[in-house]
Each structure stands twice: as structure tokens, then as C-alpha cells.
Assembly symmetry: C2
Homo-oligomer: 193 residues x 2
């Protein structure tokens, strides 16, 4: 493919900086966008790369982390606990993947599309670790700003515990989480149920 | 090292989302922060991964791209064409690297520190490609918003051509640049000298 087409894809990526998530920065000052979240995810993965429990192909996991939310350029961000918006999420995101990865030409378009599907399916070791980090990052920010988004959304310990089981892919992460969630309740940042 | 120390490093990373660069989003709506810029850089690298001229260790290049500006958490962003601020940049950034990478413990702290130095030295193939992309991304945004930042900074074609030679690491990038810079002058987005 021509080099200019790759530059067009790189320019298209800029739009992810304007996709706003429910999540806030740790200092609570503003909501986070999906581009900076994606950097945080990929770099967190680097920081955990030498964990004994983390037996993965790091390059593949980084690719998944970097592209995992590009579909949001067209499909928007779907809040993880919003079951109504989740109904047509798969269809919206599949259309977005076709268009945006399609800008790249083959074989990269196919590779990116497959990596993105791999995350959605969540079966490979790489997909499971990226999902676990994708869950813990918002949790870390909620802890840091004393549950600003939990208060907005009426979140509870009970609901969190039932939806965060992806964290078990990395046992020390699950252990940290179960202790922290109890602390959040004790501090009054999170409702019990 | 204890898992909680890694989580502390991951939390520290959040601050890079509040470091503001001179550069603007393509749509001109606001200035860009360093976290989202770092994602853009790493993902642009993925998009170019199959370029024939790009004979690099992709995993290493991605690591460099992801961590290349973390020192700005302490040292702030130094505008590439600001020669005054550049005077004590190296010292400010070295101190920052010691503190921030140091949060991680060994061997990761040493690895990150070395990768960051490798970029600053710009000798390895990976460092040269990351630098080339780090130069072209702001240029792409200036082209997209018709030189908003060029006008602010009084930038000229002459100065740009003299400072953008890093792009030669990727010949099709240099070719795109020399053509685009002439177009920017013709359109009146950029002064000739």
C-alpha cells in the first residue's frame, strides 16, 4: 500500500483523543479520553512484564493494548457497567473495526482486526492479561479520587465483585483488588450493595 | 519487588495526562497532552511496522515510544524549537528519570532508563525511527489545522527544514515532509523564512 494511506490512518488515530470515558483522572480534575487510557494500559503492561505469573508474548499483548479501543472513534465509549448500551455494542464496534482498520490495507488490517477480536473473546493469555489491566486501571483511579465516579453511578461492592472476575488472570491483582474494595467500603467511597 | 510498588508506578503514570504540549489536536480544539501523544506515537509505529525500510526490533521500539516522555511528569514538556529551555533540559530530565523509573525497582528501572537514554542518543535503528515519528506527528497536526501552532510560534519553512532531518531515517517520511512543507507555504500556513 502507498505510504500516504498509512499516514491517513495515523491522522485518523488523532480522533481517539476526543473520545471521553466515564472514568476520571486520579486527581479527579477531568474525565479521561480513550487515547491516553490506551497509553496507560500499554505502559502498565510493560511495568508488569517481569511478573512471574505473566507468561505472555509481550509484543502481542502490547499490540492488543494499543489498538483495543480504536473502534471507539466510530462507536464511542461504552461504560463497562451500562448493560443497555452493551446491547448493540458488538455490532457498532464491528462496523467501526471494518472501516478504521480497513484504512490500513492488508496484511495489517487483518492482523489488527484479529487482535481486536482476540481481546473481545478473551481466551488467549495475552487477551486475559490486557482485560485484567483494562479493568484495574479505572479501579485505581476511583480509589485515588475517593470514588467520584462510583458516587455518580451508584456503584456497589457487590456489583464490582461480580463484574471484576477478569482480574483473576493475574492473582496478585485480584488479591490487591479484594483488599482495596473492602477499604473503599470502610472509607465510605463505595456502597456495600 | 512487591506488587504494590508496581501499582504505585502505574498510578504515577496518570500524571502524564496532565502534561500539556505546545502541539494541538488535528481539529485544533485544544492542546495535546503527553500521554495521548505517547499512545499516538506507539500506535503509529505499529501502522508502519511492515514498511520495507523499517528493519527494527518492534518490541524494543514500542517500549521506547511508550516510555520516551515519562520524564516530563517531573521535567515538563520542552518545546522542540525552544533553544533556551533546551539548555538545562538534559539535567532536569535525568533527575526525573532517576526518580520515576526508580519507583519500579530492578531490573525494570535499569531497562527503562537505558531505553530512554538510547532514544536521547539516537544511534540505534529503533531510536532513529521513534525520533522520526516523534517529529512527524506534530507536523501532521499542524498540516491538519492549517498551521495554528506555526502561526503562534512564528515558524518558517527554513527553520523546519533545518531541524527535521531525523525524518531521513525513514525515506518515504522525508519525501512526504519535503512535499508537504512546500504545500504549507503555498497555502499560507507557514512562512517561507
Amino acid at each position: 500500500m502507498r505510504f500516504e494511506e498509512k499516514l491517513a490512518f495515523i491522522c485518523e488515530l488523532d480522533k481517539l483523543k476526543s473520545i471521553i470515558r466515564a472514568n476520571r483522572l486520579h486527581d479527579g480534575s477531568r474525565r479521561e479520553n480513550t487515547a491516553e487510557h490506551s497509553w496507560h494500559l500499554a505502559t502498565a503492561l510493560l511495568a508488569l512484564a517481569d511478573e512471574p505469573a505473566l507468561n505472555i508474548d509481550l509484543l502481542k499483548a502490547l499490540k492488543i493494548a494499543l489498538i483495543h479501543d480504536i473502534v471507539e472513534i466510530d462507536a464511542g465509549d461504552t461504560y463497562f457497567f451500562d448493560t443497555k448500551a452493551a446491547a448493540d455494542k458488538a455490532e457498532r464496534e464491528e462496523r467501526a473495526a471494518q472501516r478504521i482498520f480497513g484504512l490500513l490495507g492488508q496484511p495489517l488490517a487483518r492482523e489488527f482486526h484479529q487482535l481486536w477480536h482476540e481481546l473481545e473473546e478473551g481466551k488467549s493469555a495475552e487477551a486475559r492479561v490486557v482485560r485484567a489491566l483494562d479493568r484495574i486501571l479505572p479501579f485505581l483511579s476511583h480509589m485515588a479520587n475517593h470514588g467520584m465516579v462510583w458516587a455518580e453511578k451508584g456503584m456497589s461492592r457487590e456489583l464490582l465483585l461480580s463484574r471484576m472476575t477478569d482480574l483473576k488472570a493475574l492473582p496478585p491483582l485480584w488479591q490487591y483488588f479484594t483488599e482495596a474494595v473492602d477499604r473503599a467500603v470502610a472509607e465510605g467511597w463505595l456502597a456495600k450493595r
